[in-house]
């Protein structure tokens, strides 16, 4: 069991999302950085989609109430276990009574705490993810609060070898889309969407060629972007449809919105493109003020990037398995 000692608002239990309840109008929720959550789980020998804690507000502190293997992945939050600094992207064993403290990261936005066996909150409509917007799933349908106690899943007996196991961070292992942009820009691969061609050439050029700034009005629901406004020649009457995380909608103001994990499940604004699933984790680590740049890809190219991501995760799982086996000899 782990106990939350200190937490600002908006930190929550998340897995890889809720699928199969869209006929209710239920969106996906799930980890904003799905690669970081998966990596933490795979380091521990968990299924990639076990529930963990998404920390997006700091400082965050937990106390372990039992011995358990745990991992810290995502943004480097200078995690300290009883005062000992842990390397980023690292898993190790925590003993009952030890405290883990996470500080605000210098770069990146979200860190993930995963534990052997996963966080065992009730499954709601097929997922343990918290939907903060409406208030269901996760721990009592809400963000975590000091004093909350979370139970580890049944396989929590797994132990990491002495010294722990690390993973190569995905930002090093997974190639970003090539672009001519400055080094501090996050480059995202985007498949053009239904209304892309309805935008006149100047708006399409601005979308693909300019840098977009993530505004302060950005959260798990979506990011509002700032840049050259995009406009249709004349308004389109669009019939509402289901939407997916990563969709870039253009409301009449011309400032695009990227809908993310806790977004509405349907909408009717013109859709210019959709950030591919395999790049959503990069958005999950973008902070307000970050510069984004979009490059166009086909669904086939997106599938190739997806395969690279799966290969990275398989490698993490395999190396962790070998390390544990080696340690048992």
């Amino acid at each position: 069991m782990i106990e939350i000692v200190q937490t600002p608002p908006l930190n929550s239990v998340q897995d890889l999302g809720r699928y199969g309840a869209r006929h209710y109008g239920v969106g996906t929720s799930g980890a904003m950085d799905d690669v970081a959550l998966s990596t933490g789980n795979l380091l521990l020998g968990n299924p990639a989609g076990a529930a963990g804690i998404e920390i997006q507000m700091f400082p965050f502190q937990v106390k372990f109430r039992s011995d358990v293997a745990m991992a810290i992945t995502g943004a480097d939050c200078r995690a300290e276990l009883d005062g000992t600094l842990l390397p980023p992207w690292w898993s190790t064993n925590a003993r009952a009574g030890q405290s883990l403290v996470l500080q605000a990261p210098a770069t990146g936005a979200r860190s993930y705490l995963t534990i052997a066996g996963g966080v065992d909150v009730p499954v709601v409509l097929g997922s343990r993810s918290t939907c903060l917007r409406i208030g269901y799933g996760g721990h009592r349908g809400r963000a975590l609060e000091a004093g909350d106690r979370l139970v580890c899943g049944p396989d929590s007996q797994a132990r990491q070898p002495q010294g722990g196991i690390g993973a190569e961070p995905p930002e090093a292992a997974l190639a970003a889309a090539a672009a001519d942009g400055a080094g501090d820009e996050t480059v995202l691969r985007v498949v053009p969407a239904a209304e892309h061609d309805a935008f006149p050439a100047p708006s399409r050029c601005a979308f693909w060629q300019e840098a977009w700034t993530v505004s302060a009005q950005s959260n798990r629901m979506g990011f509002r972007l700032m840049g050259t406004p995009l406009h249709l020649d004349q308004p389109l009457e669009i019939r509402s449809s289901g939407i997916v995380p990563g969709i870039v909608q253009v409301p009449p103001s011309g400032q695009p919105i990227i809908q993310l994990r806790d977004a509405n499940s349907a909408g009717g604004y013109p859709k210019i493109g959709v950030v591919i699933d395999a790049d959503l984790w990069r958005l999950g680590q973008a902070r307000p003020g970050a510069k984004l740049r979009f490059v166009s890809v086909t669904q086939q190219q997106a599938a190739e990037v997806q395969r690279e991501t799966e290969a990275y995760l398989s490698q993490v799982a395999e190396l962790a398995r070998l390390c544990r086996r080696e340690a048992r000899r």
Binding site: Y19, R22, Y24, Y136, P252, D277, Q299, V305
Partner: protein, 211 residues
Amino acid sequence: MGSSALLFQAPGALDLANQRRIWALARQVAGWPGIREAAPGMSNLLVIFEAQSCDPEALQARLLSIWSTVNDTPEAGRLVELPVIYGGELGDDLGLVADRAGMTPRETAQLHASTDYVVFAPGSSPGFGYLFGLDPRLFTPRKNEPVLRKQTGTIAIGGIQTSIGAAAGPSGWNAIGCLSEPLVPFDPHRDPPSVLYPGDRVRFRIEAIVA
């Protein structure tokens, strides 16, 4: 629709016959291998697939070929009557909609409440859904900038559609009223979780009109 979804948009008008075929298509597609979800929209269907196991081009071809054979079997929907306060603080766009229609706010409310609407698709938040049957005189474009709606149960018009707001939050729709009795739109632990489902019919009863 990105790397793991397709949006199937049916040709033709937004009408009940077409929408019944969308519902039937959704049921069929949900059973195909490699499909994670199939969610009806307004004369369209969002299909989310497993990117590893499903070829989007083959899926697209299959959707297009099966559309012509899908039957418009009627849904066994319920009739749900909901009392509404038109206008007032929570329906502060009633005047705007009335002006566009060249009517008084009272006439506008009476026109809006004079038809039974059919729930066509799940809404942007769970609980109520998108309604079909809005009189063309009440069509009103969405706002340029979404405004914050502080509570659920708002009756609103967005373009050619009308709906009941199922969540607080920013919305570009024009609010013309609100439910007079608060309803929890969605509770995953309730059976059934949502107040309204596609195929249900909705009748708005005028509880009051606040000018």
